[in-house]
C-alpha cells in the first residue's frame, strides 16, 4: 500500500507522463527492431558493388542491376507459377472452407459431432506425413516436377475443409433467429444462405479469401517436395531458397533480396489494404476456435 501513497505523492499526472514516455521508448525501440530486416533487404536489393553478403547495411553504389538480372533467371516463371496458384486457391479454397464451416455452424444432423471430432483427430497428425504418398500418387498422375502447379493446387484445396474453425466461430455469432424467421416465411435453406447469411458475412469471406491467396506465396515444404528440384515447377519460396545454398549464394544473394522485395510488395499492399478484415478474423475466430 505504501507504493500507492507514493503515487499520490508524485501526483497521478506526472506518473502517467513518465510511464507513457517509457512506453513510447519501448515501442520505438521495438519498431526499429521489427523494421530493420525489411529496410536491410530493400537496401541490399539495390546494391551494385558485390553480389555476396557484406558486413554493412547501406550499399556504396545503388542500381537496379539485381532486378534486371532477375529477368534472365527462372524467377519470372516462379512468380507466374505462384501467382496462378494463389489466384485459383483464392477462389476455390474459400468455397470448401465456407461450405464446411457454415454447415457445421447452422445445421444439426446426426453425423455433425462425430465429423468434428474426427477432423480434430486428423489434425493431430503431422501434415507432412501425407506428403510422401501424395508425392507418389501425383507423380503417377504426372502432376509433379515441371507440372507441379496443378498438383499443388489440388493439395492446397482438397483438404482445406479442415480449416473451418475460424469461420465457424464467425457464423456461430449470427443469431439463429434470423434463419428461423426466413424459414417460416418459406425460404429454402439455400435461400437463407444466399440472401441472409452471406450478405452479413462479408468480413469473414474476405478474410478467408485473403488467407487463401497468401498461402501459396508462403508455402515451402509441399512446394519443395512436389516440385522435386525441377525449376519449372517451383514457387517463389522454393526457387529463392535454392539460391541460398553454398554454391549459389555468392552470386545470387542480392538477387535473392530483389526477388524477395518483388514478392513482398504485392502481398503486403493487399494485406495492408484488407488488414481490418484480417484483424477481425484473427481476433474473432481464434479465440473461439
Amino acid at each position: 500500500m505504501s507504493k500507492n501513497n507514493e503515487n499520490h505523492g508524485i501526483g497521478m499526472h506526472a506518473k502517467e507522463k513518465i510511464s507513457n514516455t517509457i512506453i513510447y521508448i519501448i515501442l520505438t525501440l521495438m519498431s526499429i527492431i521489427w523494421l530493420t530486416p525489411f529496410v536491410c533487404i530493400v537496401l541490399q536489393s539495390f546494391r551494385v558493388e558485390s553480389t555476396w553478403q557484406v558486413g554493412y547495411v547501406v550499399p556504396k553504389q545503388f542500381g537496379l542491376g539485381n532486378y534486371t538480372a532477375l529477368l534472365n533467371t527462372d524467377f519470372p516463371k516462379w512468380y507466374l507459377n505462384t501467382f496462378c496458384m494463389a489466384l485459383v486457391v483464392a477462389v476455390l479454397q474459400p468455397l470448401f472452407v465456407l461450405c464446411m464451416s457454415y454447415t457445421l455452424s447452422r445445421f444439426r444432423f446426426k453425423m455433425r459431432k462425430p465429423l468434428m471430432k474426427f477432423m480434430l483427430i486428423l489434425g493431430l497428425f503431422p501434415g507432412m506425413l501425407t506428403m510422401i504418398i501424395l508425392y507418389r500418387v501425383l507423380k503417377d498422375m504426372g502432376l509433379t516436377m515441371a507440372n507441379a502447379v496443378p498438383g499443388l493446387i489440388l493439395v492446397y484445396i482438397a483438404s482445406s475443409g479442415m480449416g473451418y474453425y475460424i469461420s465457424k466461430g464467425f457464423f456461430d455469432t449470427i443469431p439463429f433467429s434470423l434463419d428461423e424467421a426466413a424459414r417460416i416465411d418459406g425460404a429454402t435453406r439455400l435461400q437463407v444462405l444466399t440472401r441472409i447469411i452471406l450478405p452479413l458475412s462479408k468480413s469473414i469471406v474476405i478474410y478467408t479469401i485473403l488467407t487463401a491467396f497468401m498461402g501459396p506465396w508462403g508455402d515451402f515444404i509441399f512446394a519443395k517436395y512436389i516440385s522435386f528440384n525441377t525449376s519449372a515447377g517451383m514457387n517463389v519460396a522454393v526457387g529463392l531458397y535454392s539460391w541460398l545454398n553454398k554454391d549459389m549464394i555468392a552470386s545470387r544473394y542480392t538477387m535473392f533480396c530483389a526477388g524477395g522485395v518483388l514478392v513482398a510488395i504485392p502481398v503486403t499492399i493487399l494485406f495492408l489494404l484488407l488488414q481490418n478484415y484480417y484483424v477481425e478474423g484473427v481476433t474473432g475466430g481464434s479465440v473461439k476456435g
Binding site: Y56, T130, G260, V287
Partner: protein, 466 residues
Amino acid sequence: MNKIIKVIGDEFKDFFDALIHGDWKTKLSFIVMGAGNFLRGQIVRGLFFLAFQILFIYYLINNGCYWLSMLPSLGKEGPGETYDEFYDQYVYTYNDNSFQILLYGVLTIFLIVAAVITWRMNIKQAYENQKTLAKGKKLTTFKQDIKSIVDEKFYRTLLTVPVLGITVFTVLPIVFMILVAFTNYDGTHDGYVTNLFTWVGLKNFKSMLNFSASGGNYGTIFSKILGWTLIWAFFATFSNYILGILVALMINKKGIKLKKMWRTIFVLTIAIPQFISLLYVSKLFDRSGIVNGTLMNLGWITEPLPFWENAMWARVLVILINIWIGIPYLMLIATGILMNIPADLYEAATIDGANKFQQFRYITMPYMLFVTGPYLLTSFTGNMNNFNVIYLLSAGGPTNSAASSAAGSVGYTDLLVTWLFKITTGAEAQYYMASVIGIAIFIIVSIITLVVYNLLPSNKNEGDMA
C-alpha cells in the same frame, strides 16, 4: 459410450426387422439394391442404387479382387532381368508394384465399407417405404428429392465435396502411412523400381525404442529430439504469449497516441511472406552476415560470432527470432480480447488500492488465460510441428554428431517434424521410420491435448468443440 452401443443396437434391430417383417419387395432389395425404391415408384432413386451396385461389382471383379489378394504379401515378383529371345539379351522388367498394391488395397477396403453403408441405406429405405405405404401415406417424388437438395438435405450438398477431398487427400494418406510403419518401405525398397517392400510387423517400432548404437541408435536420437521439441514448443509458445500481451497492453494504454501506426508496423511482419523474412534473418546472422560484419567493423569483436555453429546459440536464436515472428499475431489476438474485459473490474481494483502490476496479475492474466486457453493449447502443439521456422532458419543445424548415425545427420535444433522430413529425402530415405515418427508425434500431441483440454476452465461451458 452407451450412446454408441445404443445406436449400433438400434441399427441391428431395424436390420432384422426388415429381414423378418419385410415384404418381397423389401427382401429383394437385400440382393438387388434399389428394388425397394423402383418397385414402389421411386424410379430414379432406385436406379441410382442399382447403378452403384453394378459399378461396385464390376470394379471388384476387374480390380478390387486383385488388390485385395495381393495385400497380404504386397507383391510376389519384384523387378528382375528376363531373357529376351528376339534381341538376344537380358532386359530389365518391372513386375508387381507394392506401393500401388498397398494404396489400392486400402482404397478397395474403403470402397467396401462405403458399399456396405450404401447397402444398409438401401434396405432401410425399402423398409421405410413399405411402412409408409402401409400407413396409407405417399412416398416422396423425384421432384421433392431434388428440392430437398437445397433445403432439408442442404447440409449433405454442402459437405459432399469438402468431405470427399478430406477423405482422399488426408484420411487415405494417413491410413496408408500408418500401415507403412509396419513395412520396410524405403529408398532401396520402393516397391517397384528397386525392390518390393513387405510387412515386417513391429520391427520398426522396436528399433525406435532401441537405445544401443548397434540397433541404429534411434531411441537415443528420438529422446534427444523430443526433449528439444518440447523445450522449443514451451518457450516459443509462452514467450510469444506473454510478450504479445504486454505489447498489446502498451499500444492500447490510455494516452498512447498513434495506435494505428504502431499496430501497422507489427502487422507488417505478418503481411510479408514468412519464408522471405525467415531466410533473410537467418542470413543476417550468418558467419559473413550483416550482424557479424557490423560488429566487426565497429571493432567490438574480432572473430565472427558462432550464431548458427554453436548449439546453445542456435537454440536461443531460433527462439528469439520466433518471438520476432510471433508477437504480432499475439498482439492482434490480445487486443481483441483486452477490449472485452469489463472496465469496472479495473475501477473496482483501483479503488481497492491494487497497483498496475497487481491488476495485470489478478485481472488481465486470468481473463486472458480463460479466453485463450484453447488457443494456447493449439499453439503449443502447432509449435511442436513448426517446420517452417526451424527449417528455414537453421535447417536443424548445427549437426549433432553424437546423435547422427543410422538416421542420417541430425542437428541440435531439429524438431521431430524436421527429422521426419530429413529422413524422407534422398536415396537413403527411410519412409517406414518417418511413419513411426509421425505416429509418435500423433500420440504425444494427443496425450498433451487430452490432458490439457480437460484442465482448461473455458472447456466447461464450450462443450461444442469436441
